[in-house]
């Protein structure tokens, strides 16, 4: 075992290879929380971020997702600026615990924040998680591209881990994001947190 030789943010050594973590004071100003949607007891048909400021370079969404639909899983679909046209595309690489597969879709009406989150018949109290990066979201000279890592595990059949990338063929700055379940509602305790990452 090893002694601790560096620590930050109110740490104290406890034993070789072990240390105590306490909340750090301060922190860098380049990653900021913009808004969070937490679903209440009644569930919610969607989660939406509006009036997103253009003051960041990139966006990140970190999500915890479960659906109310009477199914084992749902997808969480994403659109920008309320555009419901066939202006989206995606590629994906995923594993379901037994096989790895790839897929793609063109002229889509959405892409995915989560491809397979637990729903009502899945293991109780289990949620899917996702981390999505939306690059240069306010740049009006390029189509918008996002990438995401998401997954769920239910201690058996139904586990799912997925990489995907999505494109919105539109040069407008993204000022709002709409997230909807493929069926039913988002269940209580689902959470969608939007962060902004500043450029130099």
């Amino acid at each position: 075992m090893s002694p601790i030789i560096s620590a930050r943010g109110g740490l104290s050594s406890r034993a070789y290879g072990q240390f105590t973590a306490a909340a750090a004071a301060g922190g860098g100003p380049s990653y900021e929380s913009i808004a969070t949607v937490t679903v209440g007891s009644g569930g919610s048909a969607n989660a939406e971020f509006t009036s997103i400021p253009a003051t960041y370079k990139h966006l990140q969404i970190r999500a915890l997702i479960r659906g109310t639909a009477s199914a084992s899983a749902i997808s969480a679909n994403m659109q920008f600026n309320s555009d419901t046209g066939s202006n989206y595309s995606y590629h994906e690489l995923y594993g379901n615990g037994t096989t790895a597969q790839a897929g793609a879709g063109a002229t889509q009406t959405r892409f995915f924040l989560h491809g397979n989150a637990p729903a009502a018949t899945a293991l109780a109290s289990s949620f899917g998680v996702a981390v999505m990066d939306i690059l240069d979201y306010a740049d009006t000279n390029k189509y918008k591209t996002a990438r995401c890592l998401n997954g769920m595990d239910v201690n058996g059949s139904g586990g799912y881990i997925l990489f995907d990338s999505g494109s919105w063929q539109n040069t407008n700055a993204i000022t709002s994001i709409q997230i909807t379940p493929s069926s039913g509602n988002f269940a209580q305790y689902s959470q969608f947190a939007l962060y902004g990452i500043k450029g130099a």
């Binding site: 034993a15 615990g97 239910v154 058996g156 881990i161 305790y189």
Partner: protein, 169 residues
């Protein structure tokens, strides 16, 4: 919309000697998510599965993995396990001195109503890349976790473990 700076470094541990595990304890509930960034420097050729456990518990874990080793992609699963598997097949180096990068997201780690699900990526140039999702069937807030190797002292001198906290608005 509210905005506040976050993604704060909580702790960094740079190993001064080879070890088999690192423990983060007394983690406050002050954040929404935790992110652990590991620069794994291999002390052995064991290429171990990294074992993630919470609050000292050794039960109720499971996981699903997606791997690529340069010639094929594959997916695996483990159930009713004693730990969450990270870099189960690939993602840590098999050559002494080589480095792999592992990033583990512990989301909503301190809530007491949901089971805990984590996302991880592991990459090493000499073995491959892997994505992992892991479940801990427990609603307790995570106040400590251990990242360990199945075999002894696989984490080499110079391996770093940096824990960040992210607070949602």
């Amino acid at each position: 919309m509210a905005a506040g700076a976050t993604y704060e470094p909580i702790a960094t541990n740079t190993l001064g000697s080879a070890t088999s595990s690192v423990i983060f304890s007394s983690i406050s509930g002050s954040y929404t998510d935790l992110v652990l960034v590991i620069a794994y420097k291999a002390a052995t050729t064991n290429q171990p599965t990294l074992q993630l456990t919470f609050n000292g518990s050794s039960s109720s874990y499971s996981g699903t993995q997606l791997t690529g080793n340069g010639s094929a992609a594959a997916s695996y699963r483990n159930t009713n396990a004693a730990f969450i598997s990270i870099a189960r097949l690939v993602g840590v180096p098999s050559t002494v001195g080589n480095t792999g990068t592992i990033i583990i997201n512990l989301q909503n780690y301190s809530n007491t109503t949901t089971y805990k699900t984590v996302l991880a990526r592991a990459s090493a140039a000499d073995t491959g890349t892997e994505a992992d999702v892991g479940l801990w069937q427990n609603t307790s807030a995570i106040t400590s976790f251990t990242i360990g190797a199945a075999t002894s002292n696989d984490f080499a001198i110079g391996s770093t473990f940096t824990l960040y906290g992210i607070l949602a608005a």
